[in-house]
């Protein structure tokens, strides 16, 4: 699921630190206990925008962090509004709802561990490509920019 590849060049100390921070941004909202799924994405978007003119290594990792957050946003938003509808409307707790929440939590845990691992490895200057998100980032993030 996670691959450590050689990047086109060896990133500098500052680059590694900034790239690592892009992953940490998505964890900040979880760490402070924010219940809204949009906050993780917002933090990552702000960080991405502020680094869009940065070096290729930084941009690449900011994009991967942002893409992974986008898919989590879809999963978490659906779970969040489903929960809201149970609390405030006539919707009831069903087997499907509990199954969805377990699946969503499982995916969030996997994503959390992957993010944490990637942040640590990127800080060491290693280039970590996630399954699917890495490929997608390679398509979207070009060096020539």
């Amino acid at each position: 699921m996670i691959q450590s590849n050689n990047f086109r060049y060896s990133p500098g100390e500052h680059e590694a630190e900034t790239a690592s921070s892009s992953y940490l941004m998505s964890l900040i909202a979880i760490i402070v206990g924010a219940p809204l799924p949009i906050l993780n994405l917002l933090a990552t978007i702000i960080f991405y925008l502020s680094n869009r003119k940065s070096t290729y290594f930084v941009r690449w990792h900011c994009t991967q962090a942002l893409l992974s957050q986008l898919s989590m946003l879809i999963i978490n938003s659906f779970g969040f509004w489903w929960t809201v509808s149970i609390v405030f409307t006539a919707e009831t707790i069903s087997n499907e709802y509990i199954a969805y929440m377990i699946s969503a939590i499982a995916f969030n845990i996997v994503e959390f561990i992957a993010t944490l691992y990637t942040a640590v490895q990127t800080r060491k200057g290693k280039h970590i490509e996630w399954w699917f998100y890495g490929g997608l980032t390679n398509i979207l993030c070009k060096e020539s920019r």
Binding site: S94, N95, L136
Partner: protein, 265 residues
């Protein structure tokens, strides 16, 4: 590009696959959610009925009790509804009203009984309220209107008397949303047909009442969606059903009960 698309589809499939497989497990039973919901409903039923008991005198006339019991028992028996679940209360009030409370409490005002031209009209209204109970509309409405948290705090006793009174008022004098009302009307016709009770007088009752919607005492009508429209769809639904109908209580028994009610008024 193809690789990324393939991997994307695989991730989506993995998520939905996990969800689908986990949904096969009976989590609701494992976590005892049904039982907890029933306990909540039971407590709410007791709380609301306690409030209602204080607002009006319960009618103890033997004839009235027997007639209403006969109609409700007959409908329940023929439709496989657990009669032990239904708690009927006849309150002495002039308002033409009947409504359901949580945990199967069915409140009928004497005003409705005395204003019903025949037993089928009354059976229609009773069936409509039984339908709300059977389709779990009562709890749905409560949660929709006052929210899950307030419902929970009422049962735990942390909500004040004002909130409970407001919630009680909501159940007795406001309608369910249009979709739920239509569902209950259609189910009511099914219950009546199954019980061999002619559902047409129920539609007639609504037509009759639609002319009187402005009259304050017609609470059951004025709080429900357009009676004429309801009468129309009930009538057209009735046409799809044809059966030999019969009366649950004898004409003499019905007349005698109404006479006694009028005397006591």
């Amino acid at each position: 590009m193809k690789k990324a698309v393939f991997q994307g589809i695989l991730i989506v499939t993995l998520f939905f696959g996990t969800w689908y497989l986990l949904a096969q497990i009976k989590w609701v039973t494992i976590f005892n959610i049904q039982k907890k919901t029933e306990n909540t409903e039971q407590k709410l039923g007791e709380i609301f009925w306690d409030v209602f008991k204080k607002t009006g005198k319960e009618n103890t006339n033997k004839n009235v009790k027997n007639t209403i019991d006969s109609i409700v028992n007959h409908i329940c028996e023929t439709n496989g509804i657990n009669i032990a679940k239904i708690k009927i209360h006849v309150l002495e009030k002039d308002d033409i009203n009947a409504f359901a409370l949580p945990n199967g409490h069915l409140i009928v005002f004497t005003g409705l009984i005395s204003q019903s031209a025949n037993q089928e009209e009354l059976a229609g209204v009773i069936c409509h309220e039984l339908a709300h109970i059977e389709l779990n509309h009562v709890m749905k409405k409560l949660i929709q209107e006052i929210g899950f948290t307030v419902v929970g705090s009422i049962t735990s006793g942390s909500e004040g008397a004002t909130i409970i009174k407001e919630a009680t008022k909501l159940l007795s004098s406001s309608a369910y949303d249009r979709k739920l009302e239509k569902e209950a009307d259609i189910k009511a016709v099914d219950l009546m047909v199954e019980a061999n009770i002619n559902p047409k007088p129920f539609a007639d009752f609504l037509y009759k009442m639609s002319d009187k919607e402005t009259i304050k005492q017609f609470t059951w009508i004025s709080t429900h969606p357009d009676s004429k429209e309801r009468g129309n769809y009930i009538l057209s639904y009735c046409k799809t059903k044809s059966k030999q109908y019969r009366q649950v209580v004898t004409a003499e028994g019905w007349f005698k009960m109404q006479q006694e009610l009028k005397k006591s008024e």
